[in-house]
């Protein structure tokens, strides 16, 4: 078990390392942040001086080595645009993203599992077909478009809910629905098919023969075993939501990591992009690892003997 965790951590570290290389080379191919600090009156000498101060005149491998040397000491550099440490910007923003992602996960779990259980309990009836249809359509709709349609209906037409920024609970509603949209549909379909599998097993048949009421069979006997599948998927979903937040935050001007990352991409603010991507990929790797561990805990039939 310890060996499994250590191997996985090492592999995760290698993966995060690879991601830093891609990010580093990618963003330096994409553009130069010098323009953020240059005025139209700047002379060529001044521009060269700025590039030198930023360290951008050094060869790429050297820049990367310097970046890694500082990064392992927790120093991700200063934002070129805001002139404050990138880690400080992340700290200010991470709370908003976590809030949004957790709210979306909660909504997806409640609605997705709820509808999935109902669909399975009424297997083969119009209720089941309606739920299946909702799941299929929900997964096919692009999330950013769902967000815009919600803005159109509840913001522009009805005027019920705010469509931008972060504030009270009302600000959270539309971004949460948008972010959870795809995952809700995924949970619905997952819960339904897992429930149907479980409902066919012998111990359920035995419970029925014993005369246990059907609602108790569905809600207790079947759902508990379905939860193993659902829990593991929930971990993966949290990681997916962290990524999905990039687009949702942009649409709703939500002041989180995602909107900061896209803004930094447009302005080529290297240190912020690097720090943000590393934080996201560490969270992603961590969530994947926790999922694998949970899988072993929840289902004792799975053993982590092998490393892959």
């Amino acid at each position: 078990m310890v060996r499994f965790v250590l191997v996985r951590l090492a592999l995760g570290l290698v993966a995060v390392f690879g991601v830093t290389v891609i990010t580093f080379v990618g963003e330096r191919t994409a553009g130069d942040p010098t323009f953020l600090l240059v005025s139209p009156q700047s002379t060529e000498v001044q521009i060269q001086q700025i590039r030198h101060d930023l360290g951008l005149d050094k060869p790429l491998p050297v820049q990367y080595a310097i970046f890694i040397e500082h990064a392992v000491q927790g120093d991700f550099g200063k934002s070129i645009k805001y002139d404050v440490p990138a880690t400080q910007l992340l700290k200010e923003r991470v709370g908003a993203t976590v809030e949004l992602a957790l709210a979306a996960l909660l909504l997806a779990l409640v609605v997705g599992i709820g509808l999935g259980v109902i669909a399975a309990a009424f297997h083969g009836t119009p209720i089941d077909r309606a739920a299946t249809f909702v799941g299929l359509i929900g997964q096919a709709m692009p999330g950013f478009w769902v967000g815009i349609m919600l803005i159109l209906i509840f913001g522009v037409r009805l005027g019920w809910l705010p469509v931008a920024g972060r504030g009270g609970l009302s600000h959270l509603v539309l971004p949460t629905i948008t972010l959870s949209w795809f995952s809700t549909a995924a949970f619905l379909r997952l819960t339904r098919s897992a429930m149907l599998n479980v409902l066919e097993s012998d111990y359920i048949k035995l419970a029925r023969l014993k005369g246990v009421p059907e609602w108790l069979i569905v809600c207790k006997h079947a759902l508990r075993n379905t939860l193993i599948t659902i829990t593991t998927y929930a971990g993966l979903t949290l990681a997916t939501l962290l990524g999905g937040a990039v687009i949702v935050e942009t649409i709703f001007a939500w002041p989180g990591l995602g909107s900061m990352l896209t803004q930094s991409l447009y302005s080529h603010d290297y240190p912020v992009i690097q720090a943000g991507v590393i934080l996201t990929s560490v969270a992603f790797v961590g969530a994947n690892l926790v999922v694998d561990l949970l899988y072993g805990v929840l289902d004792p039939r799975i053993r982590h003997g092998r490393s892959t």
């Binding site: 950013f144 522009v156 098919s193 962290l242 999905g244 990929s281």
Partner: protein
């Protein structure tokens, strides 16, 4: 989020309908995907209006079923006076080309990497699988953003981004199938008979995993359409004056209070297309390769 995680659709399905599925043609998916293919291939010939010329006299005309609409712009017109239906038809071409080319490229890279990893093994296998693992270290949409940002917008960028984001799924599954097939008698016999590695891969391995590859590719098509539209929406994909459904939604976003149809119809087009691709993938999986749903 809407952008389907690569090969995400191993979850739901058509339980109990598997038997005899091959005999029944999937009518619904075919109908849903027909517009994409027909408009994508024929494109300009079917457009009621040109999308490259502006007509300021007809800006923001409502669709025909609303007050003030006319049959000349069935689905209304956009802020530049361009016909929304014609834009949708022209956007189908972008979606078709980009998703097909992206998925095909991803398949080519992934299958090659998977066969090499599974067949050669050793250090090469280790290296390839570590690269594949990187897919698990960064959210797909973030990777796509980084790549699109680095390569600059446009058709080629989108294809490359989809290929880079989607190939690991093939590599993982093809590697597994290769290792499984290598232990089978007919492959072992070919090895004993002195067949070259290339010949074994071409004659014995690839034909036996074709159905899995086709199923993954179809399931990924919907995801590719989603990635294309999301990146174009963010301004990192298809660039004006070219059109794409994602770009139309971005354009319509500023006119929600006066012209809801500009942002609404392209989203419907994306949803129906992705639905068609997902349903076709589910059908193919059940018909060709029922084992794949458990991976």
């Amino acid at each position: 989020m809407s952008v389907a995680p690569v090969g995400a659709d191993v979850l739901g399905g058509l339980d109990g309908r598997r038997r005899g599925a091959l005999r029944r043609l999937p009518l619904v998916p075919i109908l849903l995907l027909a517009p994409l293919v027909v408009f994508g291939v024929l494109g300009k010939a079917l457009q009621p209006h040109s999308t490259s010329s502006f007509d300021l006299a007809t800006t923001l005309t409502p669709p025909v079923f609303l007050h003030g609409g006319s049959w000349s712009h069935v689905l209304g017109s956009d802020p530049l006076g361009r016909d929304v239906l014609s834009l949708l038809i022209s956007g189908a071409r972008a979606s078709l080309i980009i998703s097909l080319a992206g998925v095909a490229l991803a398949g080519a890279i992934g299958v090659l990497a998977g066969v090499v990893a599974g067949h050669v093994g050793g250090a090469i296998d280790e290296v390839i699988m570590r690269v594949v693992d990187m897919q698990l270290a960064v959210p797909p949409i973030l990777l796509a953003l980084l790549l699109a940002g680095a390569l600059g917008g446009g058709l080629r960028t989108l294809i490359a981004t989809i290929a880079v984001s989607f190939w690991p799924t093939y590599a993982r599954i093809v590697r597994g199938e290769t290792i499984g097939l290598m232990q089978r008698d007919f492959v072992q016999l070919a090895v004993v008979a002195g067949a070259s590695r290339f010949r074994i891969a071409r004659r014995h391995l690839l034909p036996n995993m074709l159905s899995s590859i086709v199923v993954i590719a179809t399931l990924q098509l919907g995801g590719a359409v989603g990635v294309e539209s999301a990146l174009s929406f963010l301004g990192l994909g298809v660039q004006a004056p070219n059109t794409s459904w994602g770009l139309m939604i971005a354009d319509g976003r500023g006119y929600l209070d006066t012209a809801w149809w500009v942002a609404t119809f392209p989203g419907v087009a994306i949803a129906l297309t992705v639905l068609g691709a997902n349903l076709l993938g589910d059908w193919l999986r059940d018909a060709l390769d029922p084992m794949l749903r458990h991976r």
